[in-house]
């Protein structure tokens, strides 16, 4: 399916099979938690099922689903900021508190590569929601500017400026480790 008009003919089950993993991955990149990402992806499809009549097929269906995912995630962030909660259960390893790694080079190169990925993921989680979304779309999923503009519902010039700002913000977050990694 190359365009939204064709995707309008998909059954809901086919849509879930085609886009389910993409939506889940986006949710996971945004939330940083597998369970929450699963719930967010399911909620995304439930909402899409309710309101699929509004999708006109002018863009790819994944942009429609991504926009729902992002909006739902922003709602959850907003709700959490207004209703903070604290867990009494032991920490989820996925959600353990941020611990800066020792910038000194590790002896084991494989372990170092894994640590770099973990650090990169942590840096990504520290970004603002809008910056995080555009970094995920461009750097992780390698989406084109046009697709990003469709997801964000903005113009290409806006995508360029937002992407530049998000990259700069990510670089600042990772700056304590970048010098060691570049050596």
């Amino acid at each position: 399916m190359e365009n939204g008009k064709d995707e309008l003919r998909l059954t809901f089950e086919e849509l879930v099979n085609q886009e389910g993993k993409k939506v889940y991955n986006l949710a996971y990149r945004l939330c940083g938690n597998r369970e929450e990402a699963r719930d967010l992806a399911q909620e995304t499809f439930a909402r899409a099922c309710e309101n699929f009549g509004r999708f006109r097929g002018r863009s790819r269906v994944f942009t429609y689903l991504y926009r729902i995912t992002y909006n739902l995630w922003c709602n959850r962030i907003r709700h959490r900021s207004r209703h903070p909660s604290f867990s009494l259960t032991p920490d989820d390893p996925e959600r353990r508190p941020w611990e800066p790694a020792d910038p000194a080079p590790a002896p084991d190169r494989a372990l170092e590569a894994e640590e770099r990925l973990e650090l990169a993921r942590r840096c990504l989680e520290q970004l603002e929601p809008a910056d995080r979304l555009i970094i995920v779309l461009r750097e992780v999923e390698d989406r084109s500017y046009e697709e990003i503009a469709a997801v964000l519902n903005c113009r290409l010039g806006t995508v360029k400026s937002r992407l530049a700002r998000a990259r700069e913000s990510l670089r600042e977050k990772a700056s304590p480790y970048l010098e060691a990694w570049l050596k």
């Binding site: 389910g20 990169a120 970094i135 992780v140 990259r167 990510l170 670089r171």
Partner: protein, 415 residues
């Protein structure tokens, strides 16, 4: 890096990374990178981060993800359908309630017109008539036939229609020659007892459309038979009836006035009928340019609120169907008639009722004329020397005019 040369901006780095910096911009950027270590290092950091982001492994949602998604969507669909049904039902009920409220609002009784307290008619307790029975026996039936004929004979000696107007009775007010008016306002009129005995004049377009003769012929014929009067000397069937007589005329009161239905009645039988015949004939001759006129008997107090100017006829403003129905029913009962209640649309119209006899004077409402902001009621003083309560036969108490609702009602004596 040359002196005064600025570093590359984040937008330049971002565009260069994405291959969107072309031509002179790209060459300038690359030449700057060759001479600027800081920008070169910054570019390497960005490339490293991009590489790391692209190395992030794709997450697997785990088994049963698609099934769970479909399950939730199905469940949400059921809830959504119920919510939609609930919303439609709620909106429907709300709309129905709104329609009911509007219907009740439109059906409410119209407020009465207001006059100042100094303009209210003062009626002594002794002048107030006794309360009338709702559906008591007709007054005619209680009277012996001979007495009825006697009074009728006296009345016949009066001269024609003029004698009809000369029936004075219980009273309250004197008239001035000057026209008087009062401002209309709802809900502040005191309830007063009106005078007794008069003829009623009712004007309304809907009533004019009715054929008046059939409406009045049945009671007229019945009363003729009752009085024992022969049919040979009746000049016009329907007009000689003892109680009601009908005549049709067109009223040229003005552009708004429309047609009028003139209702006047007599309780006495034969002589009243003769007088009514003459009056009907007069009206019939004038009728080419006047509104439809119906003359019928009416009798007594209706009990609605009474208000007046000191120098104008005491009058009633009826602005709801309840008072209108009471007035009509009472007059029918007293006059032994069963005329149907003339329909009046009280959303747009009101009834002006003028007691005929007031302080030994008798008045006749001739017509009404509707202006943009007021209604003018033309009346005539028909008081004669015979206007004695004991001698004159009972009359319908009111002359009634149906007019369109206006803020002011003026009374003007006709020349």
């Amino acid at each position: 890096m040359k002196k005064n040369e600025r570093h590359a901006t984040p937008a330049d780095f971002s565009a260069y990374l994405d291959g969107r910096l072309a031509g002179a911009g790209r060459e300038g950027f690359e030449s700057h990178l060759a001479g600027c270590g800081e920008c070169g290092r910054r570019l390497k950091e960005l490339e490293l981060l991009r590489g790391l982001m692209r190395e992030l492994p794709a997450a697997d949602p785990g088994p049963g993800f698609e099934r769970a998604v479909l399950e939730r969507a199905r469940d949400r669909g059921r809830r959504y359908a119920f919510a939609a049904w609930y919303r439609r039902t709620a909106y429907g009920l709300a709309g129905l309630g709104l329609i009911l409220i509007v219907a009740i609002y439109l059906q409410r009784p119209a407020p009465l017109m207001e006059t100042g307290p100094e303009r209210l008619l003062e009626v002594q307790p002794s002048e107030a008539p006794a309360p009338l029975p709702e559906a008591g026996p007709p007054v005619r039936a209680a009277k012996p036939a001979g007495e009825e004929k006697k009074s009728a004979g006296r009345f016949r000696n009066e001269s024609g229609a003029e004698s009809l107007r000369a029936q004075g009775g219980g009273s309250a007010v004197k008239l001035d020659d000057q026209a008087r008016s009062y401002e209309a306002a709802p809900e502040s009129v005191e309830r007063k007892a009106p005078a007794v005995g008069s003829a009623s004049t009712l004007s309304k377009g809907e009533l004019a459309a009715r054929p008046p003769a059939p409406m009045m012929s049945a009671p007229a014929a019945a009363m003729n038979e009752e009085s024992g009067r022969g049919t040979a000397d009746r000049p016009a069937p329907g007009l000689e009836a003892p109680a009601p007589a009908v005549s049709v005329a067109r009223e040229s009161a003005g552009p708004v006035a429309g047609s009028a239905l003139d209702v006047a009645g007599r309780r006495s039988s034969i002589s009243t009928a003769g007088a009514l015949e003459k009056e009907a004939e007069v009206r019939g001759l004038e009728g080419a340019s006047r509104s439809d006129t119906l003359t019928a008997a009416t009798g007594s107090d209706s009990g609605p609120r009474l208000a007046r100017l000191p120098a104008a006829p005491a009058n009633l403003l009826i602005r709801n169907s309840r008072d209108w129905s009471r007035l009509w029913q009472t007059q029918n009962t007293v006059q032994n008639l069963s005329l149907p209640l003339p329909p009046v649309d009280f959303r747009k119209q009101m009834v002006v009722a003028v007691p005929t006899r007031q302080e030994n004077r008798a008045y006749q409402v001739l017509r009404s004329e509707e202006k943009a902001d007021r209604v003018i009621i033309y009346y005539r003083d028909v008081t004669t020397e015979k206007c004695d309560k004991d001698e004159a036969p009972p009359e319908p108490p009111y002359q009634v005019q149906v007019v369109n609702v206006r803020s002011r009602v003026e009374f003007q004596k006709a020349p």
